[in-house]
Symmetry: C2
Subunit: 345 residues, 2 copies
DNA sequence: AGGCGGTGCTCAATCGTTTTAGCATAGCCC
DNA sequence: GGGCTATGCTAAAACGATTGAGCACCGCCT
């Protein structure tokens, strides 16, 4: 009997590895790696040869192994409060586009109002599932801040960040945003404004309330505030509360567009004319503002743009192109007038 | 001078590893792994000890290394045509929830109408970034099918799959769905229907056209079809084409909700009353159907449910709980009557 | 001829975890 | 006391790529 061949075909169930390519090409594994990555000095001839064998075998370098060795995963995480909200879809889309362009994949986490889900998400960084993270956390949490301080991996927060916590972030002057809405309504001759806010345990709601209070004070208006969830249903239900508590209201300043659109729906059902009887404004300028009826005047907070910038800051850090100091970007809001306040419909 | 300690503290910049824990606990790395994972025979005492040291060091097992060794990443990919479309957001949300529940992370890819982006996404499986994939591809592509056939990793397709390609999939009878809409309009006394379809090079458009043609034939209707993009803008523009080619139309059967809502907007601008002058129906039953005006009658294709089932099929396969034969699930559509066809508004 | 530098490739260590095989030690029974 | 089985731990080999060090070899110069 002949000797066993030293390297039997060894039909693997899985994919070809660099070792398989090396064997067939008659070179070492190192050469395969160097040839395909183009990182070392390898002759043109060998490169072509290895490449052709690799192609023939359908060889693709294993990302796990590569990641382990190079300590880089080429993945980032995006943590949003609720992917069902079009605002965060805009952010996700922008980030995904930016990441793809630079060779990164995006892991999406929607915390869906679950207590502590944002803190849990930081595990992705700890255990090395991802290289960095864009985090949108709307509920202030001491625990989250503490953990943020401990982690020494690139993170970019979209939203307010307590000073001293040296982390990159991009924020928007939403306080000023509410001011824009209020001023617009005053110009339109409204004077009995009600602010329909989101849950007060969230950052956006606090900042926006502050904006309303400042603007109301400046204008000498009575302070009228109602609170509900940041959802269509919230806005829908809030209308009834407004009518009970402030029957003479002639304008609703809603803390986001979902509330505004929900309110529009309820007002229509009640036969209240918008904008004739009551004007309505929203915040965020989601695409839905253009399809509801009447179209919703809103304050654009440029979510897509913020997502894009956050992604860029994060990716720059990952490629070491960023300065050591934590970066901060502030975006300015802008008013978009539509039918619900008497603009062109 | 005393000897150097055999194991200097060795301040790592990164995270603690199992070796660090082992050193401090005075046991071997194997024991650390076995103690923390609870897979081997380790005494209670040792387990407690190792656990406390690990906690103290903030040790978290590295996912890369673990994945490499165990050949499992605990990640799946979700590939959708456009995350900007609320239908796919519903799918994403359902899948993310299901995945999280079973300890998996979701990598999101939006192909955004880029040629070949779906085929590219399969690389995620090849290179081991993820264990499995849920794929929604709406543009039929020989290349995609060929690649799908080659890959021997769990995939679940949402949508039509050519027979013989033995891959798990969940589909919806959208042909029948269009039939439901047509029948509803006929019952409402409409007779001059126009089908506003999406791009004919997509699967959904073909299937829905077929549904319209069958229903029209059954009812003895003239075949009237217009085509546009599956977007708000598409529907908006399509109205003008309809009015030019079929001025007497009394109903628009739209191939998805975005088209329908876009059409509503244009009709309103033109002073055409809905549903009095023209009735409109959509398909998908996205949440926006309830906020536009009038509310849009639609055919629910249960996107969230399909996503949930796809995720379950995929995750079952990954945990080896699935039978060898490829699975197929079919979801039935259901009509949701609203204001745009004269239902309660 | 000897030395030197460059080229092209390989060796072997490394990343951090999991897991199999195996080695002590202790306890038990007769 | 001798054999036998559990028990509790460790050594070492994976997983698959990357990479710094190093080894042949060739050509060139003096």
């Amino acid at each position: 009997m002949a000797n066993e061949p030293p390297n039997p075909p060894q039909r693997r169930t899985g994919t070809a590895t660099a070792a398989d390519v090396a064997r067939l090409a008659g070179v070492s594994v190192s050469t395969v790696s160097l040839a395909l990555s183009g990182r070392g000095r390898v002759s043109e001839k060998t490169i072509r040869h290895v490449r052709s064998i690799a192609e023939q075998l359908g060889y693709v370098p294993n990302a796990q192994a590569s990641s382990l060795r190079r300590q880089v995963t080429h993945r980032i995480a995006l943590v949003v409060p609720d992917i069902g909200n079009p605002v965060y879809v805009a952010v996700a889309k922008a980030i995904q586009r930016e990441a793809k362009q630079r060779g990164y994949y995006v892991l999406l986490i929607s915390t869906d109002n679950v207590e502590g889900a944002d803190v849990d998400a930081l595990h992705l960084l700890r255990n090395g599932h991802v290289d960095g993270m864009v985090l949108i956390a709307i509920r202030p949490s001491g625990e989250l801040e503490r953990q943020l301080g401990r982690i020494h991996k690139p993170i970019c927060v979209i939203g307010k960040v307590p000073g001293g916590l040296g982390v990159d972030h991009v924020e928007v002057n939403s306080t000023r945003g509410v001011g824009l809405a209020v001023e617009h309504l005053l110009e339109q001759g409204r004077s009995r404004l009600v602010f329909v806010n989101g849950p007060l345990d969230t950052n956006p709601a606090r900042l926006r309330l502050q904006g309303y209070l400042e603007a109301a004070r400046r204008a000498g208006l009575e302070e009228r505030v109602v609170s509900c969830a940041f959802t269509l249903q919230g806005g829908y239900a809030a209308v009834d509360e407004v009518r009970a508590r402030f029957p003479d209201a002639d304008a609703l300043v809603c803390a986001n567009d979902l509330i505004g659109i929900g309110a529009l729906k309820r007002l229509r059902e009640l036969g209240v004319r918008v904008p004739e009887d009551v004007a309505v404004t929203g915040i965020d300028d989601i695409p839905e503002c253009q399809i509801c009826s009447p179209t919703l005047t809103s304050v654009a907070l440029h979510a897509g743009e913020r997502g894009r910038m956050a992604a860029q800051m994060l990716l720059n850090r990952l490629s070491g192109e960023a300065p050591a100091a934590p970066l901060r970007v502030v975006v300015e809001p802008s008013l978009v007038v539509r039918g619900s306040t008497g603009g062109r419909p």
